[in-house]
Symmetry: C2
């Protein structure tokens, strides 16, 4: 079956965002990443920095404390508001037509559509560490600790809102290690997969 | 970097074994699946049925009880004997040259080699359920329960001996959903990946 919407989940530093961007360019379809933040900002009035942080990351590295942070009298947290607004934006952009959506639990949010290809992009620790220092510079934390912390916060956010394990093969149609094939190699493999999905009888 | 050894981990019913067999045929390299059982049988004298069951599956669906089952006075269980013998066989066959190895924690056992491509093959529940009924016939258990039980026992065995999560993208270079692309589609994507790994500079 033809897949026209591609969700990209990615480890921090794996190059998943670049993979998504290149893929959208080659396919000539819309690309949503920061664009989702803009739309959520327009809908809610929250600052873009707040949405970027809360929309994908747990504010804590402890799953259980996440459940009790900053709830209002209805038991709804700021994160829940961002989640709901973001969820609506993702459903809307998918309804609009073919696109690539990076991160933000889009694989889960669009799970009932049959025209979605869910991709996970990962990398080996050494390659990712080198990449984030090149891209984002040095900080006091060593790069491997930054990678682990960031992915841990993504995993908690994902688990909290989807009740699924972030990075489990079971959630994705395709997972690729960019350390083995590079960014361009990963893009080509996704294009190959899309072609073969289209050829496949249901 | 060129990858000459391919390990295939797979969900029950996903067609991973067939993918591995076809891949080895096309590449003209050795294929190890039941062949490992034969070798462990020759080395240990355990029956083939026992090795097949103990070599990949936990005898229980509870991780903690697994740790206490059938230990001898040295604290070594029958499973540990099978694991050690199987581990040696896998290291030996990889040393012999290019091959495809299905299951049995080969991805973990060969983790320090740089010429190994680790692949995970999965499928959607409906396709897998249909497949196991066609291949193995009906039983008293419904097919979805059989799938879940079998994969759960594989996951416990894997966790016990590797301390890693079975089916986590982080352990594999490539993961493919055969329900989206079929068995032949999956084989072609692995061949594509191998070609791109070879082209990739380290």
């Amino acid at each position: 079956m033809k897949k026209t919407i591609i969700t990209i989940s990615r480890e921090f530093g794996s190059g998943g965002r670049t993979v998504g961007k290149k893929l959208a360019e080659i396919l000539g379809i819309d690309y949503y990443d920061k664009e989702i933040i803009e739309k959520v900002h327009d809908d809610t009035g929250f600052t873009k920095e707040f949405i970027e942080e809360q929309g994908e990351y747990s504010p804590t590295k402890n799953f259980f404390s996440y459940a009790f942070i900053g709830r209002d009298t209805n038991g709804i947290s700021m994160n829940d508001y961002v989640w709901n607004a973001q969820r609506k934006v993702i459903i809307d952009v998918a309804d609009k037509g073919p696109c690539v959506i990076v991160g933000r639990c889009a694989d889960y949010i669009l799970r009932n559509r049959s025209d979605v290809l869910n991709v996970f992009i990962r990398g080996d620790m050494e390659t990712k560490a080198k990449r984030i220092v090149e891209l984002y510079g040095e900080t006091d934390d060593n790069p491997k600790k930054r990678l682990k912390d960031k992915d841990k916060k993504r995993a908690i956010n994902y688990k909290y809102y989807t009740d699924r394990e972030w990075g489990a093969c079971q959630n994705y149609d395709l997972s690729i290690n960019t350390s083995a094939v590079g960014i361009d190699g990963a893009v080509e493999i996704i294009l190959d997969m899309l072609k073969r999905c289209e050829e496949q009888k249901d």
